[in-house]
């Protein structure tokens, strides 16, 4: 997706969180930022309304896709 942004170079970060240690991390949203520090600040500002025990961000381009919607997976 193309973004019209103030920053000349940005990355999209996926935001994951969980409310209890027994839970798995799950995707709660995303932020767009030019660097990791600002992404941390944005994720905390945007998603800290819940009482998460863990909140992490991952650059979306660090995710390795095996297959995506519309593509054939092994069970197709």
């Amino acid at each position: 997706m193309e973004y019209v942004r103030v920053h000349p170079q940005v990355r999209e970060y996926e935001v994951f969180a969980r409310k209890a240690r027994a839970e798995a991390l799950h995707l709660v949203g995303s932020v767009v930022a030019p660097d990791d520090d600002l992404a941390r600040a944005y994720a905390r500002a945007t998603y800290d309304e819940e009482r998460w025990v863990e909140l992490v961000i991952v650059p979306k381009d660090a995710l390795l896709t095996l297959w995506a919607p519309g593509e054939e997976g092994p069970d197709s």
């Binding site: 942004r5 103030v6 920053h7 932020v31 767009v32 930022a33 030019p34 660097d35 520090d37 600002l38 941390r40 600040a41 944005y42 905390r44 500002a45 945007t46 800290d48």
Partner: protein, 212 residues
């Protein structure tokens, strides 16, 4: 308050949200600090209604660079003072200010990252001067409190830590300390306008109350 004024005017949606979140954080920090003051002011009546602020906050910021300067310089100076209080020997401050420092870490990340991108040199120099005025001159109350153990950092140590956090040398700053007001912690006159002060103190909202 000044952060909140930018919650629909920052350069990106994420920065809008961060401005609102940081403003809310700072309201919470004020409540904690006033609570501490009330406990420490055991013999006072707690009824001092006067208001003091840095000159940088007198008027709304007209440019994002001013937001960035306040965020990275003044907020970091504030954080350093809170660290010095939390590292001192006053028990109520040692125990209650930790969460504040956790939240301020994100203010720093926000301001420091924007400092690298925004053309904010002039605003940063102005904010830096006000941070130095806020710390005060050598040998004044801050150094006295440090000598007494209430603060863990001297004026010079606070200024050195500020340089370290901002990754840059202090700009040339010339202050005539003879005009420094210790209570207001500034050399210049001026103050915020009355409508803004009423809003901060919740007085402006009274008009929405039944019979208000």
């Amino acid at each position: 308050m000044r952060y909140a004024e930018w919650c629909t005017a920052a350069p990106t949606l994420e920065a809008d949200i961060a401005a609102a979140a940081m403003g809310l954080d700072d309201i919470g920090h004020s409540r904690v600090l006033y609570g501490c003051l009330k406990e420490l002011d055991g013999e006072g009546d707690g009824e001092d209604r006067s208001y003091r602020n840095l000159a940088f906050l007198d008027r709304p910021w007209r440019a994002w660079s001013q937001f960035v300067a306040a965020n990275v310089v003044l907020d970091t100076a504030f954080t350093l003072m809170i660290e010095a209080l939390a590292g001192g020997k006053v028990e109520v401050l040692r125990t209650r200010l930790r969460k504040m420092l956790q939240e301020e870490r994100y203010h720093y990340l926000h301001g420091h990252s924007w400092m690298k991108e925004a053309d904010a040199g002039k605003a940063i120099a102005g904010a830096w001067r006000e941070a130095v005025e806020w710390f005060g001159p050598q040998g004044s109350d801050v150094d006295e409190l440090q000598a007494a153990g209430a603060l863990s950092l001297t004026v010079l140590e606070l200024r050195a830590r500020l340089r370290e956090r901002l990754d840059r040398p202090e700009p040339p700053i010339s202050i005539d300390w003879s005009g420094w007001d210790q209570d207001r912690r500034r050399t210049s006159d001026g103050r915020i306008d009355q409508p803004t002060l009423d809003m901060i103190q919740g007085l402006a909202e009274r008009r929405y109350m039944p019979g208000g």
